[in-house]
Amino acid sequence: MSTKKNTRLRFDSLTSQDFLGNITENDSDEKSDEGIILQLVKSHSDGISVRDLADYLEVTPKTILKKLRALEAEREIYSKKISNATYWFPNGRLIHPFLEFFREFRGKPFRFTIQEGRSGPLVQIQERSFSLLYGEKVEGAIFIELGLVDEMIDSLQDLKSRYVEFENKIEVKR
């Protein structure tokens, strides 16, 4: 015979476990579709196809592809053709929270991180936009190998110098 256990909680004896129960990532009521797809891609480091994602999530491949393209534009994932099929792979993982910061330049937010790349750490610079109605959105990102950052900085300085020269030439012509 089984008896029903009295599980009524009392304030005085509440514990963290009472409040948390069996919390998993999937308990979030507001998980976005893109968030779920990103998680699935991240859990398949060897690649996953649109068909597999569509079967798993029980939505059409067309819907999945649209979300994948959005994630690709944000540089969260990338695709590769292998034997006539396209597979989707996760981009780098943030190495440590210390290696992430945000900066605003004239109101435009940017996220700077160092992530694990296939052949070493990668610097990611992500451009974002913000609006009162929609909050923050990712507009795009670039990746540079950490070892090439100095070269990139030199290239940007070079570009800036060229622009100054260009402007001076225009002034002279005037």
Binding site: L9, G21, E30, K31, F101, E104
Partner: protein, 427 residues
Amino acid sequence: MIQTLNIRELIGHSILGTAGFSNRFPAVEIGKCAPLIRTGEDLEGIARCNFLDSNCPVEFNILNRSAIVNALKRVQTAYPSHKDIWLDPTSIITRRPSIGYVPPECLLKSTEKATIALNHTGRIGEKMSELRLDNPDGAFWAKVASEKLLVPYTRELLSCMRIFNGDLLAPTVPIITPKLKTSPKIQGVVNRALASQWPLSSGGRFTTTGILYSLHVDPSALTDVELIKNSLIELSQSLSGDLSFWGIHIHFINISLVSRKAARIKAAKELIRQVSRIGRQHGIFTWISDVGPIGPTLLDEGAAFCSYYTGITPRPIYLEGMNSSDPNIIYGKVMGLWEYDLFDINDIQTRGWSLEDTGLMARGVPHSLRFGKHKDYRVNFGKPRNIAVMERLNIERIKELNKKNIKPGTSHLGRSSDPSIAPWAAT
């Protein structure tokens, strides 16, 4: 553990240095009174204050998110015509460090209006409001636990904060009260439970909001030595582990109830001193929420920041049965600077419609506001004036500390004859 507090100098219990709020900004100078945005009207008042330090953090009431957003939209429309004296709307909340909180008065059953306000965050907030209305204090939290609402509710709060890019959340926790002798322990349990799950997803993938340790105390608990001792023990225990609290958020539910009794004032100051000390030991800052004009004296006890309602009068947010015809109430109060008292509209009229110069905005009430609509007066003069006074006090504080005056805030409050302010200087 995160280190958010960097102390340059200790002068008495007062601290000079910087505090970090998020990865979005460099650290900001501490030892300031900061504006609290309770309602949309507070935001409209702040919008008229282009003298507000761009690095000064703000605190906002998450429950009034919609009203605040609507106010922001109005301000955005009007801003181009007032660029010389208004703040850029995007810099009122989103481009400065900010803390989001739920007014603890909404967890009491003191007014139905306050409890119903919990509805405003969404589906889980509605459930919380319903449970709160139907259950006494202890049973309410037991139900929150048994129905596993704590984490979904906190996610809902984070989701509401996203539109403002809120940097830090003061989570909703049981209030320390003599009615529940184990309330300090359970407050600690809830803080630790949430921090152990951080960062919490709020649906978006870009949640960067940090968590504060909420130390919310009913004024009646202040003179219960055992309760206060246990709350400090819980705080120390929570900060000593691996959990990442960015700071400590103290709230006294209704500061005017603390002001009524000397014993409570003394106990509140001692509590802040001890909490700030514990926070310093763990490298995190202490934020005292919604204390109005007495903030400067609490900074003397080691707090890094105090927030003030821009209407300045110390009172709860969700009041019922207010007399809305008395001009002394509906026009609100305005702060003096050196004569550190609260002036109603009749007082200001007696003074020829002019107050002491703050050096930050015009000292006189414009003609168009003197006998006009009360909201226009509050938004265009009263609230900006209060912000100007507090900003000026922030500037004066640094000067006094540099002269090694260890209690500049208390000295200033000594100039007041107001019964809600003066006792804080005397105790």
